[in-house]
């Protein structure tokens, strides 16, 4: 099966977290754009308050005026404003975190990823004995649990267009949920510094359509 050219983003977006190609990366990208807008608004507010400080004259300096100011600046802005914004954001962040969890389901596919200096080996419980080097095969449009570990130093499994990264740690197995909307090829890299070969420590994810995935499992294609 040949990946559909449509699914291939331009070369410049190969590793882009803001050009999502799956539900996890999509949720995170939405989170990012919203936070960016909110941050810009707060930043603007601070700048306006600063500029106004220079344009106003000196205020009264008795103790009563100071109490008044503490109400406004400490309790109003400092506590009230920041806590409201942060509480809302945290709640939303947690909710997204919930949705990214690898929950069990009927059509979840498990694959195994093992990092080493400087390559990745993938294996497939659905096709025992089958391993691939530096290329991970998955079915598109199905949730995948990638079980990640390492045989030497710490690495990190990262396919930015599909999901966030999760570390490969010797002695531990971490599970990351990924899913691709469309069949195609997606670039992956290690996201944890691992010495001199770190830069080229990448891999490719090939998402197959249903037929292609079956063919892969039965060994009809490399």
């Amino acid at each position: 099966m040949v990946p559909t050219p449509l699914a291939l983003a331009g070369c410049e977006e190969r590793l882009s977290a803001v050009h999502p190609a799956g539900p996890a990366a999509d949720l995170i990208a939405t989170l990012w754009w919203t936070m960016l807008a909110g941050a810009a608004a707060i930043f603007l507010l601070v700048v306006v308050l600063l500029v106004l400080a220079f344009r106003r004259g000196e205020g009264p300096s008795d103790a009563g005026a100071d109490r008044q100011r503490e109400m406004v600046w400490v309790k109003g802005f400092g506590l009230g404003f920041t806590m409201t914004v942060l509480a809302a954001l945290t709640a939303w962040g947690l909710w997204i975190g919930e949705r990214l969890l690898p929950r069990p389901g009927p059509d979840v596919v498990a694959v195994e990823a093992e990092g080493r200096q400087w390559s990745w080996r993938f294996s497939y419980p659905d096709a025992p004995g089958r391993t691939t080097e530096n290329t991970l095969h998955i079915p598109a449009q199905r949730p995948i649990d990638v079980r990640i570990t390492s045989t030497d130093v710490i690495h990190s499994f990262w396919v930015p267009r599909l999901a966030g990264k999760l570390d490969a740690i010797p002695g531990h197995v971490n599970v990351l949920r990924v899913e691709a909307w469309e069949p195609g090829e997606y670039a992956g890299v290690s996201g944890e510094f691992s010495g001199t070969g770190y830069r080229t420590h990448g891999f490719t994810v090939i998402a197959h359509d249903a037929a292609g995935w079956d063919a892969f499992l039965t060994g009809e294609m490399p």
């Binding site: 308050l49 100011r69 975190g97 996201g191 944890e192 001199t196």
Partner: protein, 836 residues
């Protein structure tokens, strides 16, 4: 009194100067214990390290200016970015604020020097020597190359066989001596050495911040020092703390490192916030709004910052509930930060801000730091962090907070305090140009790097491919990086020129209210001719003639009749006069001891254990020489402290400064011990390949020795203490205590017999626990022997028993850690024996 009236300010100055001054010439550099001199040298040293780190930053930006750069290969590049981060964090950021604090604090508090002048000198020399070693390693091409947080197993001997990692572990631990000693110094100084009447609620706000920071240093650094120690033990003796096959876990390092590393970020930010809280109100010709709120914000920031280290480990597979908790705390920490920001803005609204150069830098701080804080809240969101982690988004974020939140306020502070530092007023006006260069250069360099991070550019890659879409942004960042560097260069040049050739200025040009502006400028060696009495937060505003009164000797200790270095210590909370502290003379011992300590730390790099051992003996001997030179062989009774008050010297009070210093040193020590027990519990519950194949059986001998030793050690010193206070013979008590300590060592040594140091992480941990106990029992033993000799030489009496109290404190600590440590070591064995 009449005698004092006649003494003019000038004569008083001459008398004090001859008592407090440094040795003449070059010798003075190495023997000085004066806070002004050490502060100045320290500032110069830390600035030098900023330049070194900056040169490395330029190499990084040169390498990344274009794709497929062949300027450096990964072997060199990895050293360059590791050393850039290491130098900036450990050799510039922390030392620079310590330097400023050492310089400013006595002036702000209205006292003559810091609590332990020789410790300042020792810390400074450890810093200078350690930094020099790191730079030499860099030039020699054997610099650390595992990134500034040195994650094992990459930094373990299997994957980093050279000496590069050892240099980091040993060198940084050595340099941290200077952080710990400065912290002890600052805590005791702020608590005990202040102007009379300066109760805690009248403390200059900067001193409050530094008190908080110092306590944070004492509680945050120990986990990392422990981590470095056990990683070095793994590298040298194959004790498998971080090797999964043998029950170790590389995540243990991450916990220990970030348990330090996150508070570290606030340790760096809070001094800068202290500068802003001090300088901004003066620039706005008003007073700080909500003083109490600011103090509360600083304290809560400090407390919270210990509860969120895991946000650096969001991608390591922490369970979901844990992530939620640490994510929430990480956002919570933005609340006290927000409170401070809005209080500062409110202060500007309250006053009439003027755009002097320090104010410009503070505005630069506002704009930049707020952006860094906002991206910080973003990465506190776990899902977003999974994308941003280890990408250039993080590089951009951390420079917004470190440069915007730390470097800019520090520059504001230097310009603000320039008259106190140099006695000159700003004459050359490159400063404004430099400011704008830095602003344009900074945002040009780092703003778009956020974006390139989201486009997938990982940090720590040595180059990138053409066609990745990152070329333009990197080119812009590199060009702006050089503009930024030129800007910083110009700032340093401007300050240097103004420091050395500008015209002399007048005292207190900003019309500030705090005491550091009440001395002649630059401050003389003794800082204050007499210790002032204050009754508000801004004493110079209440009493514009206070400087003259101080200079005329109308405060406390205004008559140097005893011809020695004396200053006043006050009660902790209310600032009432309590005793006269007699300070040490100039001394070469701190410098020599720093040299020998450096050999002790660095010799293991080359596995020269014998050299390290000899140096350890040398350090001990020097420490004894150091400690011996204080004290008095006769009772002095109450002495005239001026203004009709009579006080004892520090030799004749139950808890002398040395006791306070020990107390806070032991605070740090106990955090280290606590981290060790945490590591033990962590490995047991989280690491793979547990429980260990063989568990230590406590037996009978060990526990009996432990209980007996603990009783003898703490009982003996109490007997001795009582005997000294009633002028009886203390020998028996001291010897009993000594016997108890030796018994404790024997009890701890039984652990070695039942375990093999490199068999399993369990065994290795027990060895460290036992070693820790033996080390502290030995330390207490040496002090006990020292006490014996002091008693024989007549340094103790029924009025002078402070030495015994210090030793008692250390013995009690040794007993406590022996009980806890051996209990923890034996517990699994005991549980295994209990029939189910």
């Amino acid at each position: 009194m009449t005698e004092k009236r006649r003494m003019t300010a000038l004569r008083l100055h001459k008398a004090l100067y001859s008592i407090w001054r440094n040795d003449p010439g070059w010798k003075g550099v190495f023997t000085t214990v004066n806070n002004n001199t050490i502060g100045n040298m320290f500032i110069l040293g830390a600035t030098g390290m900023f330049l070194a780190g900056g040169i490395l930053a330029m190499l990084i930006r040169a390498q990344l200016a274009s794709p497929q750069s062949a300027f450096m290969g990964p072997e060199i590049y990895n050293q360059v970015f590791t050393m850039h981060g290491t130098i900036m964090m450990f050799l510039f950021a922390i030392p620079f604020f310590e330097a400023l604090t050492i310089f400013l604090l006595p002036g702000m508090l209205g006292t003559r020097d810091l609590a332990f002048p020789r410790l300042s000198a020792y810390g400074f020399w450890c810093y200078m020597i350690g930094s020099t070693i790191m730079i030499i390693a860099l030039v020699a091409g054997v610099a650390p190359d595992g990134g500034w947080f040195m994650y094992p197993p990459l930094s373990s001997s299997a994957f980093s066989p050279g000496i590069n990692a050892d240099i980091w572990l040993l060198g940084i631990s050595f340099i941290e001596i200077s952080a710990i000693s400065a912290a002890v110094e600052v805590v005791v100084t702020v608590l005990r050495y202040r102007a009379v009447g300066m109760s805690l609620d009248k403390l200059p706000i900067f001193a409050w911040y530094m008190l908080v920071v110092a306590v944070m240093i004492l509680t945050a650094f120990p986990p990392m020092i422990l981590g470095s120690l056990i990683l070095e033990l793994e590298r040298a003796f194959d004790m498998p703390f971080f090797q999964a096959e043998n029950g170790g876990d590389s995540l243990l390092w991450q916990h220990l490192f970030w348990l330090f590393g996150h508070p570290e970020v606030y340790i760096i930010f809070l001094p800068a916030a202290g500068v802003v809280s001090t300088v901004l109100p003066v620039m706005a010709r008003t007073t700080l709004l909500g003083y109490g709120w600011v103090v509360a914000a600083a304290i809560s920031l400090a407390v919270l910052s210990f509860g969120l280290w895991v946000h650096h480990m969001f991608a390591t597979g922490i369970p979901h509930m844990g992530l939620a908790f640490f994510s929430a705390v990480s956002t919570l920490v933005a609340v006290p930060t927000g409170v401070q920001i809005f209080i500062w803005i409110g202060t500007l609204w309250k006053g009439r801000p003027e755009l002097h150069l320090p104010m410009l830098w503070i505005l630069g701080f506002f704009v930049t730091f707020v952006m860094g804080g906002l991206t910080g809240v973003m990465v506190a969101m776990v899902p977003f962090d999974w994308q941003a982690h280890d990408s250039y988004f993080i590089v951009a974020h951390l420079h917004y907070v470190l440069i915007g939140g730390y470097v800019f306020p520090m520059i504001a502070g230097i310009y603000y305090w320039l008259p106190v530092l140099t006695g000159r007023k700003r004459f050359f006006r490159m400063g404004e140009t430099a400011f704008w260069l830095v602003m344009v250069g900074f945002h040009g360099t780092f703003l778009l790097l956020h974006w390139v991070g989201l486009l997938g550019m990982r940090r720590r890659i040595d180059t990138f491919e053409a066609g990745s879409g990152w070329e333009l942004i990197n080119l812009l960042a590199s060009i702006s990086g050089f503009v930024l560097a030129i800007g910083f260069g110009l700032v340093i040049l401007d300050i240097a020129v103004n420091a050395f050739v500008a015209v002399r200025g007048r005292r207190n040009p900003w019309n500030a209210g705090t005491l550091e502006w009440g001395t002649p400028i630059p401050g003389p060696a003794y800082n204050f001719a007499s210790i002032p009495v204050v009754n508000s937060r801004y004493p110079l505003h209440d009493h514009p003639d206070l400087p003259v009164q101080i200079a005329r000797g109308e405060g406390f200790l205004g008559e140097p009749v005893r011809n020695r270095r004396e200053t006043l210590a006050v009660s902790v909370s209310r600032g009432e006069p309590e005793f006269i502290a007699v300070f040490p003379q100039n001394s070469i011992v701190p410098f020599v001891m720093a040299v020998v300590t450096s050999i002790m730390f660095m010799a293991p790099t080359f596995k020269w254990w014998w050299l390290s051992g000899i140096s350890a003996v040398g350090v001990t001997a020097l420490a004894l020489v150091w400690a011996w030179s204080g004290g008095s062989r006769e009772d002095e009774g109450l002495l005239d402290a001026g203004r009709g008050v009579s006080l004892p010297t520090h030799n004749e009070i139950p808890h002398p400064p040395g006791w306070w210093g020990s107390l806070f040193l032991l605070l740090a020590d106990s955090v280290l011990f606590g981290s060790l027990l945490f590591g033990y519990a962590f490995l047991w519950t989280v690491a793979p390949n547990w429980p260990p194949p063989r568990i230590l059986e406590p037996g009978v001998l060990g526990p009996v020795l432990a209980v007996g030793g603990a009783g003898l050690a703490s009982g003996g010193i109490r007997l001795a203490d009582r005997a000294i206070r009633s002028d009886g013979s203390a020998w028996a008590g001291v010897l009993v205590s000594l016997a108890g300590l030796v018994t404790l060592m024997a009890a701890a040594a039984t652990v070695f017999r039942g375990t093999t140091h490199n068999a399993h992480a369990y065994d290795a941990t027990l060895w460290v626990i036992a070693g820790y106990i033996i080390f502290h029992a030995t330390l207490a033993g040496i002090m006990t022997l020292f006490l014996l000799f002091r008693i024989r030489a007549g340094y103790l009496s029924s009025r002078r028993f402070g030495d015994a109290r210090v030793v008692r404190l250390w013995i009690d600590y040794a007993v406590l850690v022996a009980a806890l440590g051996l209990g923890a070591a034996w517990l699994p064995g005991i549980l295994a024996e209990v029939p189910r």
